[in-house]
Symmetry: C2
Amino acid sequence: MTISAPGAVGMPLAAVDTPALILDLDAFERNVARMADALRGSGVRLRPHAKSHKCAEIALRQMAAGAVGVCCQKVSEAEALVAGGVPDVLISNEIVGADKLDRVAALARGARIAVCVDAVENVADVAAAAERAGVRLDALVEVNVGGNRCGADALAPALAVARAVADSRHLRFAGLQAYHGSAQHVRTVADRRDVITRAVELVRSTRALIEQSGIPCETVTGAGTGSFPLELASGAYDEVQPGSYIFMDADYNRNEFDAAWPPFEQSLFVWSTVMSRSAAVRVVVDAGLKSVSVDSGLPQVWQQDGLTCVSDSDEHFVFAVAPGAATPALGEKLLLVPGHCDPTVNLHDWFVCVRRGVVEALWPVSARGATR
Amino acid sequence: MTISAPGAVGMPLAAVDTPALILDLDAFERNVARMADALRGSGVRLRPHAKSHKCAEIALRQMAAGAVGVCCQKVSEAEALVAGGVPDVLISNEIVGADKLDRVAALARGARIAVCVDAVENVADVAAAAERAGVRLDALVEVNVGGNRCGADALAPALAVARAVADSRHLRFAGLQAYHGSAQHVRTVADRRDVITRAVELVRSTRALIEQSGIPCETVTGAGTGSFPLELASGAYDEVQPGSYIFMDADYNRNEFDAAWPPFEQSLFVWSTVMSRSAAVRVVVDAGLKSVSVDSGLPQVWQQDGLTCVSDSDEHFVFAVAPGAATPALGEKLLLVPGHCDPTVNLHDWFVCVRRGVVEALWPVSARGATR
């Protein structure tokens, strides 16, 4: 089923149907510009993560502001982005299975595509797909820098994978993918610095070992919105991959950020309507788990004190009204700040792009549901 | 973007691409039959909740097995179900806003549609939409039976709403909606019985008050997969609304069920591929938050001991390998049992329906993303 957009260009926000994914264009554009400013003169490239937005329109705007390309996690995301005109996509993830690898190789005929590998046996499969398609694919070796998710272990295990890549006629060793996912939400700057310092040590020693082995390592790429100033300052990274900075979310807003870091603003919201209320006690909105992901905590009401989300269900969030606070009226619309932006975006088919209270554009979430 | 199906009819399950939503047809059909058996001879009607499956094909199969119609939560869900041939839909939720109510009234021209109300001011809006469309709409008064989500309070507040419905020429008072959401996951049978006993007392006293006021109350409807045997046994309900029983999930499987209750089976899975591994320590699969909802806990690996999900991210779940357990191979496919079935289904565009290891059908999740 095609999901129609919840509003139309020119419409006031107040008239947009709910639930709807709202993008405040002024805040979004300031976030895009601030990241460009933060990297200017550093010699470090920006390759934002498109898994956050899944939207070719946004990727192209990031590139217009200086990004060299984008990252994504899935082949089908890369397909949607390339179909939308994005010329350079790093799939910052391992791709397993001949069918998927054939799709990657086919995509590489019309765009600059790179994939990650973390196992010698996977390198052979990627090379075979490149050979079948008659292309030479860029492959980066993912290194486990402490997140304990994907990635070869640092030093000798990573070298073995890099050597397998370098030894293949159908692949080009393009460097190291070194992203520490769980570091992004370590709350204090000091604790995050400790975690990233250890990651940087692993990156440096692994790069040195690979280069000492006669394999040039042109790029180290990684980092996210929570940690990128640390990777940037380390001198060990050539490229950073922040994604959420364009939107922010309640979970990222709980991080302590150093005053020197760019003040990214909340630009992403879910628009909802009060559809039931018990005056002076609670209000219930028409958005729930199917409109706002709760994996990183419940949503908050934007700039409105006295309302605290106390329960979630498929199509409802219940907000308790603090003593003395006004209870929103039935039919009143509330802007919710999602707990986690990326999986929330994936629940929607459209960004309703608003500037100063008026819908300026509707951007499709082009890779919504593209998980394969 | 249209998401293509991850497999084709006749294909072995092993060949289905991942992540994919898998429905074991044998288990699903036994669940459908067991619920019909549980209600047979009780005089209580079955109106399964379609928010669980969002699939017209499944709704029609439930009706073929004796259900009188289905429930859903949103107007756009009702539209998708009616478009798929479902003739009788109760929107078991309040609908706020003239545009949405006009869509409800338009839908009622071609199907039997009912909505819930819990506030006198909303009754006026529903009646106005019915008048504009020239239809008479069925409205049920939702009563808060302890879940503290939507619903008028029992007794006088519910009577006031029922009277407003009965007084409207454009509405027909069709009874009481009395669903206790949070009761469904109260773990022990004894504790669930206590919660539902209190709900039933509120239902009985409210129905009596409304009827003593001269307003016939033809139906009390409610109950879910966790509690329906209790509402059934109470004699106070005319209709039950279980949804998850056709699928089950890890959270429902943690409930204690009375031996006399139907043994519903796990029929819903997310098919995933091991795409990274660290032998004897962990495996990482290619499904994460965007393929399996974690609001009610992390997924489990189906009938495979020694693998415990220890972390989630957008496109990955990490499973720890217990000491001594075999580590699945790279590329091995694993069936995951979602923590919560309903929001997991909403992440997918297709049910891949499998019988004894072979794909028998592909059913679209017709109301995927239909949240308005």
